[in-house]
């Protein structure tokens, strides 16, 4: 499970952080990009490119300049960024058990777009990135609460008047409500599992009684 910072826009590049089983954590040299609209994009690479452009436009000489294209806008780094989108969708599917059709409302994109995310084939707008990251933060927390994926319960189990898929599909994600529902759902799932275990054991006992 990765830890990512929350917030509606990513102001700075943020390193991936991986909790370890012994309670420690590790950082990574891999970073999420800053949002193209962030102050960091303005003062940093965007500013450098603008200064370069301004210098070139003085037409002092014919030149070729190489500027490292650091990641400031997600859609510029196609291979890594779209792989991340595919990872986020895969994680959401695994944790919730929801179908691609149901996940379209969660990610607020068309089914085709979601399939393209999964195949790392989509150029992703800043708005869609924000949604992907916001959902991923919720899914991350859900994975800590739910003992296993709820599947159809995500669409049918209601708490405080809402199902999990309804809460995850809201334009603004309400973390508190999602987590309260998740805890209730976790209770349901654990109870179901206990019941199934007891039932299976009873069946086994019956089947083997006269062995």
């Amino acid at each position: 499970m990765q830890v990512t910072t929350s917030g509606s826009s990513v102001r700075m590049p943020v390193c991936l952080q991986q909790p370890q089983s012994d309670g420690t954590f590790e950082l990574s040299t891999v970073h999420h990009p800053a949002s193209e609209l962030s102050f960091y994009a303005d003062i940093n690479k965007l500013g450098q490119v603008k200064r370069l452009r301004s210098w070139l436009e003085r037409k002092v000489l014919s030149t070729v300049a190489l500027v490292p294209r650091e990641v400031m806008a997600p859609e510029e780094v196609e291979p890594a960024a779209t792989q991340r989108a595919a990872d986020i969708v895969a994680s959401a599917k695994r944790v919730t058990g929801l179908s691609v059709k149901d996940l379209t409302s969660v990610f607020r994109v068309s089914r085709q777009t979601l399939y393209n995310y999964r195949k790392s084939q989509e150029t992703i707008s800043d708005r869609n990135w924000m949604r992907l990251e916001a959902v991923d933060r919720e899914i991350s927390k859900l994975s800590e609460i739910l003992p296993y994926s709820p599947g159809s319960l995500a669409k049918h189990f209601k708490f405080e008047g809402h199902t999990l898929v309804e809460l995850l599909s809201a334009p603004q994600l309400d973390t508190q409500s999602i987590q309260r529902l998740a805890h209730e759902l976790a209770g349901q799932l654990s109870a179901s599992r206990q019941h199934a275990k007891a039932h299976n054991q009873t069946s086994i006992d019956q089947l083997t009684r006269h062995a």
């Binding site: 700075m12 940093n44 490292p68 294209r69």
Partner: protein, 284 residues
């Protein structure tokens, strides 16, 4: 001779990069890369990852009306990773890099670098005959105050960006840089970034040009316990010593090991010169 300084059990060093930059070789053929891979497996870099880097290229012709033209150049790189996600060798047509997040001292690092350079010279056709452009050694320290400490107590005041008390507002980011000519075609750059955590967590931990954006090429960094719950601003100390081979000798004609040793000496002095006694006690 380098001044003696105490070993730091909680050293803030998180990333070290040694780089050999040479004239561009012909595209690396698969058979050569396979041979390199076999040799690097024996040297402790068994995992091969093929990736790319994107560089934006601007060009302009001298005329009244032409706009600068932009295109993206995709540069091939091959990465060979060691066990534990702590070290890697990166090979490009014009560059060889050794990166580590688990630095155990200059002698060990230099020994490993020498081994890698020897392997690359043996396997890559034309490497030793290529022209050397630059050698560089770079150290990145993550200066995170412990509870009760402040960043300004750990590094020289000269490194810190202006506090701007009369402006008010909340600081977002700050940086300072100094470049020094150290002679023999070398320069040493010290850059310091003042970074705000977000929601109690670290944000960027590397300078922008060292940020990795391809997961499979990333390295892990062991975090210190107090990095988990950040209360205030932290710093990135980036020290790079660069040797520019102005006469572009053949790569094989340069005693690269000796150059790296000399580069290290000044970066070592620079580091100890910008941290405070408080920092030495805190990290001891």
């Amino acid at each position: 001779m380098m001044p003696a300084n105490p070993l730091l059990s909680q050293a803030p060093l998180i990333h070290v990069v040694a780089q050999v930059h040479f004239s561009e070789l012909p595209p690396l053929e698969e058979s050569v890369l396979e041979g390199l891979h076999r040799r690097l497996v024996e040297a402790g870099f068994p995992e091969r990852v093929d990736a790319n880097l994107d560089h934006v290229e601007w060009s302009v012709q001298v005329s009244a009306d032409n706009e600068p033209q932009q295109r993206v150049r995709r540069i091939q790189r091959v990465v060979f990773k060691g066990a534990g996600q702590r070290r890697l060798v990166e090979v490009r047509q014009d560059r060889l890099l050794l990166k580590t997040t688990d630095y155990s001292g200059h002698e060990a690092f230099l020994a490993e670098l020498n081994e890698v350079m020897r392997i690359v010279a043996d396997v890559l056709p034309g490497f030793d005959k290529g022209l050397l452009h630059r050698l560089s050694l770079r150290y990145v320290d993550l200066v995170v105050p412990k509870p009760g400490e402040k960043l300004r107590e750990l590094v020289s005041e000269a490194l810190l960006p202006p506090p701007l008390p009369d402006v008010g507002g909340s600081p977002l980011f700050g940086s300072t840089v100094k470049v020094v000519d150290t002679g023999m075609g070398r320069h040493l750059r010290v850059m310091f970034e003042e970074v705000q955590p977000e929601e109690g967590r670290l944000t960027k931990v590397l300078p922008d040009d060292l940020l990795e954006h391809v997961r499979s090429c990333g390295l892990s960094i062991t975090a210190q316990a107090h990095w988990a719950n950040m209360k205030g601003v932290y710093g990135l100390l980036d020290i790079e010593h660069v040797h520019i081979a102005e006469d572009t000798p053949a790569v094989g004609d340069v005693d690269k090991s000796e150059v790296f040793r000399q580069l290290h000496e000044k970066t070592y002095r620079a580091f100890w010169g910008v941290i405070t006694d408080e920092a030495r006690r805190s990290w001891a």
